[in-house]
Amino acid sequence: MKASIEQTELFKAMGRVQSIVEKRTTIPILSNVLIEARDDQLFLRTTDLDIEVLDKVKAVVEIPGALTVGANTFHEIVRKLPDGALIQLTGNAGSNQLEISASRSRFFLSTLPKEDFPVMASEDYENEFVAAAKVIKRLFDKSKFAMSSEETRYYLNGVYFHPYEEGGSHFLRAVATDGHRLAQIDVDPPEGMKLFSGVIVPKKTVSELRMVLETGSDDITISVSNNKIRFSNHNLTLTSKVVDGTFPDYKRVIPVNNKKKMKVNAADFSEAVDRVSTVSSDKSRAVKLSLSSGKLHLSVNSPENGKAEDELLVDYSDEPLEIGFNARYLQELTSQVDSERVEFSFQSSGDPALMQDMDDTGAIYVVMPMRV
């Protein structure tokens, strides 16, 4: 293999693909990046066996070939070479080495054969459609905060990505919950999307998705099968296994009869919650909301630290209500909102509350109360 490539391009691409490489792995080749030089391009591929990333960059290929080399070291070397330098990559099959040279710097890295690299099996994707990057970004960015990290509830360790139909309207929907709060985000179905059975996109994939969404073109091709999901733009392809489990029936827990509605300025509300929760202990982060006509009283009572109170003017005209929440949950919830005002709706102190962005009907959030 012999190829030359511009430093900036290679550094950017390596930065993307090396992010999924596990720092500690018992299988040595998983620390490596598979480099293939052909068709005037360099294909860079990394995997952790659950996710695979393939990036391609323009290069001048003199002798096509492929090899694998330690992703971290390679990335570091490329980073430290002068900006804009022309990097020459020469693979030596005989000595199992990759020579990296740019101006007067030369590096020799040991390689592992490309045949040993576990390339993810290709899949029959039953559904493939194209969506704008910002649409996909919205679905995952606004729901991911609610994913669970508890290993035992593996079926909640991701975002449930599925088509949904209600009263003749179709949506593409993302739902995440950890049992305490839930986010449900809808977007209009992208053109060409057929119905497919929903998949749970794993937590790590959701956070790595950013690299596909933030680079390259505006359009993302999404391919879904029962076992895998693939996101690609014209440079980058991220393929991921999906969580093997059934997502709970979330529709049953979304309140439909919450009549007591409170409209509040999201930023004011979040700041007030933050202020009063300063005195709460680590164990219980409970904040009590006491609602009466036009007024919201927030209070925290911590046996160890003391008390805190605050008050906000709100739009509320129902009968008085007292309800407790985890302060952190409330803050995370309100930070999802882009517009100025949000609407909370309640039923009683023991029932889940609903929150909606007043300018965005496609996003709803549910939060469980706690005893105060």
Binding site: T152, H180, P369
Partner: protein, 419 residues
Amino acid sequence: MIKEPAICKECGRTFLKQSRCPKCHSPRILFHRELFSLNIAHVDCDAFYASIEKSQNAELINKPVIVGGGRRGIVTTCCYIARISGVKSAMPIYVAKKLCPKAVIIPPRMNFYREISRLIFSKMTKLTPLVETVALDEAYLDLSGTLQLHGKTPVELLIKLATEIESELNLTISVGLGENLFLAKLASSINKPKAFTIIGKHEKLNFINNLPVTCIPGVGPSLTKKLKQDSIEKFEHLIQLDLNTLEKKYGSYGKRLWHLARGKDNRTVKPNNFRKSISKEITFDHDLSKENDLEKALWILSESVSEELKTKGIVGKTVTIKLKQPNFQLSSLSHTHFNPIYMAEDLYQISRALLIKKLSSSPFRLMGLSVSKLLVDDRRGKLENSLDTIHVKKQKTELAMDKIRSKFGKNSINKGRSF
């Protein structure tokens, strides 16, 4: 000479020392110069598990009884008849069988013993709120102030406690009374069973002088060896050394030894000795290595830890599994859950994830499960609010099982994984 105060151990009558009780004529008299002025008691049930078994089955009364078992089990408790043949607790069963071939060996029924223990402790807490639990069959009591509260001195209350336990539960206890925890514990261990021993302030030094240092709680084989090397075998050797020397040689424990040698102990009875963890373990009859077998054992442990959490109204955050390999190498692994848990299903799911990480080092001879970072939160019968409908369903199943079990017995319903 002034006659010492005395009390009848049968009827509780107090009088000035004479050979028999003036009321019931019993010769079981307890007399002591400081009879009414000592407040700290140590109560220890005699051969607790074995005595309970005897109290339940009249045929066992004159037979040597050993509670313990399993294929490679050890003696948990043995009755005093078995002790004559040299049987001791913590001895392997096969050794005990050799020493005392006629012994009746009974597998322990811990839940039943726990019930009896609860009855005994409820009697003790009626006397004073200051009861410190040491074990199911052992406690310290601080009875200062009982004269104002009950109009009776500590010794009178303790005699009443002993006679009540004997008449109602057919069990005997040994009581030690002293000015502090150390002396009370020491006193109760003398003259067992069915003893009542007092170590007064005036006699404490004479009393402990001749005792071996192994009497000190906390002095185990390795410290005994170290002390022996420094030619300290009895308290009389210990008392000759000054505080500095002891501290230099044995660190902070040296300071404690210096105090104990003088009959001093500044510990107080700590009630509500809130437990830091709730744990159960199983030693397998055969070493287990199959995932299925280990999971079954883990489910049994999860259910029994959960049962205790539920009855006590406690929840916990950290789940730890403990595994012992056939070469006795012990390893443990734990996981801290974001929210406190108590249900068997949750304990099982978390501990199973831990077990799977350790499967490669199987087989195992012992498995333990414990829950720590405990909080008091009585959630019995309450459904946890959750948006996770799958988990809510699992909770409902467990609540229903608990309900059925409380009505029809523990084995009336089980999950498939326990078979």
